[in-house]
């Protein structure tokens, strides 16, 4: 992709070169034509002058210098006179430059030969005019023109560059603001003197306001739904719990109650997670404290001891770095709970491994699993469909949300039948 400015300059440059070549060609041709007609005129005026001199009775041999081979007057027989017509011929003569002997120069001459009858004497006159001088002038002019054209097009190019830069400034500012725009903030684009850019800015501002409004409406709706479902869910669960206390139901009924109860419990958890997600989005976890990640990981592993034992999972620790993170305690718990729970939940039936690595500000949780490689695309999205799991998606989106909250990176890798989840921390230095 080419930048707008580069593209403009390229076009202008091409156009300049083409126009410049045509211009130079036309100017050259004009100069040549002018020089030619100038030489012809000079020859004709010399002819008239010579005739006039001959009429006045100036002897023919005195008109031109004797050793002038270029201009000659010869007396001829009368019969040869055919008219007053004259010929102008262009002759080329190559001679050796007297100053530098090696160089051969070709000089173009214009020759006028005419016959005239003055006082019953016939003369043939040959007048020669060298074009060398004119050619030199022509070349000189061409040189000046060329230099001038090059300089002026360069200046134009630079001016164009500056103008373009200046004119596109508001546009670039708009792009920069758009890039930085987050859905929570209003997009504030300044006023410019260019009509089109102003229209663009105001349209963009309207558009983003609309998006913002839609987003917040949607968010509010989700939040309301999550909160509003809490009470009915609690009621449902409580009623089922009371129903379980009855002693008169058949095994079949018991099964139905049990299954309903389990489904309600699942809804509970989902609801809790959704509320947690929206609370993170609403920045309700601002209280931070420094936590030593190494100590924290050790504590967490101890906390999960039972779960590891239950599935005979071997846990390896490779903590090569000692970092302190400034983080909200609730969030770090949610983050690690989800990382470890996924690693346990989707681990193989028995005898799996979990490796926790920490180096170069990157945490890696690696585990064996009964599921194959996960699809990278939409992996960390909230509504990610995965046939083998129903809560993996939401757990991962929680991880992503928390990482986003602290501008950390998350990534996933599948290698040698191992699932690897990475968190790229950006630890702040402790003051």
């Amino acid at each position: 992709m080419i930048k707008l400015l580069t593209k403009t300059i390229l076009y202008i440059l091409t156009a300049t070169i083409v126009l410049f070549s045509i211009g130079v060609f036309v100017i050259y041709k004009t100069i040549i034509f002018k020089l030619d007609s100038e030489a012809n005129e000079h020859l004709l005026s010399t002819k008239n002058k010579t005739i006039a001199e001959l009429r006045h009775g100036i002897p023919a041999e005195n008109i031109f210098a004797k050793n002038d081979s270029k201009n000659q007057i010869t007396k001829i027989e009368k019969q040869t006179i055919f008219s007053d017509r004259c010929f102008i011929e262009t002759e080329k003569e190559t001679y050796i430059n007297t100053e530098s002997e090696d160089e051969e120069e070709s000089v173009t001459f214009k020759v006028l030969i005419f016959q005239t009858n003055i006082n019953n004497t016939c003369y043939e006159v040959k007048i020669t005019n060298s074009l060398a001088e004119g050619k030199e002038i022509g070349e000189y002019i061409m040189g000046v023109v060329t230099v001038f054209l090059i300089i002026s097009s360069l200046i134009l190019l630079i001016i164009n560059l500056f103008i373009s830069k200046h004119i596109w400034k508001p546009f670039n500012a708009t792009i920069t603001s758009l890039k930085k725009w987050e859905i929570k903030n209003s997009l504030n684009l300044g006023h410019t003197s260019i009509y089109e850019f102003n229209t663009l800015n105001s349209s963009l501002m309207e558009l983003t306001e609309k998006i913002k409004l839609d987003y917040s409406n949607l968010k509010e709706f989700t939040e309301n739904i999550s909160h509003e479902t809490q009470t009915p869910l609690t009621i449902l669960s409580n009623k089922l719990e009371l129903l379980l206390q009855e002693k008169t139901y058949t095994p079949e009924q018991a099964n139905l109650i049990q299954e309903s109860y389990m489904a309600v419990q699942r809804l509970y958890k989902l609801n809790k997670t959704l509320i947690l997600l929206s609370r993170i989005e609403n920045k309700q976890f601002l209280e931070m404290q420094f936590i030593n990640l190494n100590l924290y990981i050790n504590e967490k592993i101890e906390e999960y001891e039972d779960f590891f034992e239950n599935k005979a999972i071997t846990v390896h620790k490779q903590l090569e770095q000692n970092i302190d993170l400034e983080i909200n305690t609730t969030l770090i718990n949610v983050l690690f709970d989800n990382l470890l729970l996924n690693a346990i939940k989707y681990n193989i039936e028995t005898g799996g491994t979990i490796t926790i690595k920490l180096s170069n500000n990157v945490l890696c949780v690696e585990n064996t699993s009964f599921i194959n490689e996960l699809e990278q695309k939409f992996l960390f999205e909230r509504i990610s469909k995965n046939s083998t799991s129903n809560s993996l998606g939401i757990g991962l989106s929680l991880i992503k949300k928390i990482a986003d909250f602290y501008s950390w990176g998350v990534s996933y890798q599948y290698q040698n039948n191992l699932h690897r989840f990475f968190i790229h921390f950006k630890p702040k230095k402790k003051e």
Binding site: E241, L242, L244, Y268, S391
Partner: protein
């Protein structure tokens, strides 16, 4: 324990609710053996959602408590003035104000009462705030009734029995202050989790406590795993074995696929 003061203002929230309360009071008192043997514990439930307060009432009444209900701050205060309570369950979000106000009111006028705050918001800060203003415990919606009952049980026992906080069953003694289970004078070697499960079940005697509730009680947020159920099973199997090995009767009855009952 002192007898309840005479009711000066008779406030009936709804007839149905009162009837329910009476029925459950009756059921509760008719049980041969209540949790606290002789003394009836009176609980005030302040919750604006009728279903929630009634269900809590039903569950607790069965467990031998007497319950009074209120759906607003105003009626709650009124009932507090008219009756004597041992503990209160207070929902934070009430139609005419915050439950926090009621907690402060109770702290000022009835310092001996146990208070459990119920909130729809699950946050550590809220929990700390609630405990700071004097609540004994904090419970987030949604909750299991067995959890509510166990918390209430624990609060009341702590307040009323202090250092000699013992649960005594046939041959089994649970010392809640020292966190020990004793069988015929010998301390049972229970893991922390086994002890917690035992106390949880014992504070819901004869009730069916679901596996999910046990898992939530012990592992909290982490209970959201299929594994935890196998796990509950393992824990209870071990616990039962330890109780039987100590020469005790089989207190814990399994209800397949559902949960467990502690049979006194």
């Amino acid at each position: 324990m002192t007898k309840p003061k005479e009711r000066r203002n008779l406030t009936i929230i709804t007839n149905i609710e009162k009837n329910f309360a009476d029925i459950w009071k009756f059921l509760g008192s008719s049980k041969k053996k209540s949790t606290f043997n002789t003394v009836k514990m009176r609980i005030l439930i302040v919750e604006d959602e009728i279903n929630l307060r009634q269900d809590a009432g039903r569950y607790l009444c069965k467990n031998g408590y007497e319950c009074e209900f209120s759906d607003t701050l105003r009626i709650g205060k009124q009932k507090l003035r008219d009756w004597e309570f041992h503990a209160a369950l207070i929902d934070i979000g009430l139609p005419d104000g915050s439950g926090i106000e009621l907690v402060k009111y109770i702290k000022a006028h009835f310092p001996a009462m146990g208070i459990i705050i119920i909130s729809a918001r699950n946050s550590l800060d809220d929990k700390i705030d609630a405990l700071k203003i004097g609540a004994d415990d904090y419970l987030t919606k949604p909750y299991h009734l067995s959890e509510l009952s166990a918390r209430l049980y624990s609060v009341i026992r702590r307040r009323n029995f202090g250092g000699k906080n013992m649960l005594i069953f046939d041959g089994l003694e649970i010392n809640l202050s020292d966190k020990k289970a004793i069988s015929n004078g010998n301390e049972l070697k229970l893991t922390k989790k086994e002890y917690e499960v035992l106390v949880y079940l014992a504070s819901n005697p004869t009730y069916l406590v679901t596996k999910q509730a046990i898992a939530d009680n012990i592992w909290g947020e982490k209970a959201d795993m299929a594994e935890t159920f196998d796990f509950v099973y393992t824990q209870l199997k071990n616990l039962k074995k330890k109780l039987v090995d100590a020469g005790l009767k089989n207190y814990i009855k399994v209800f397949y696929g559902m949960g467990y009952r502690f049979m006194d």
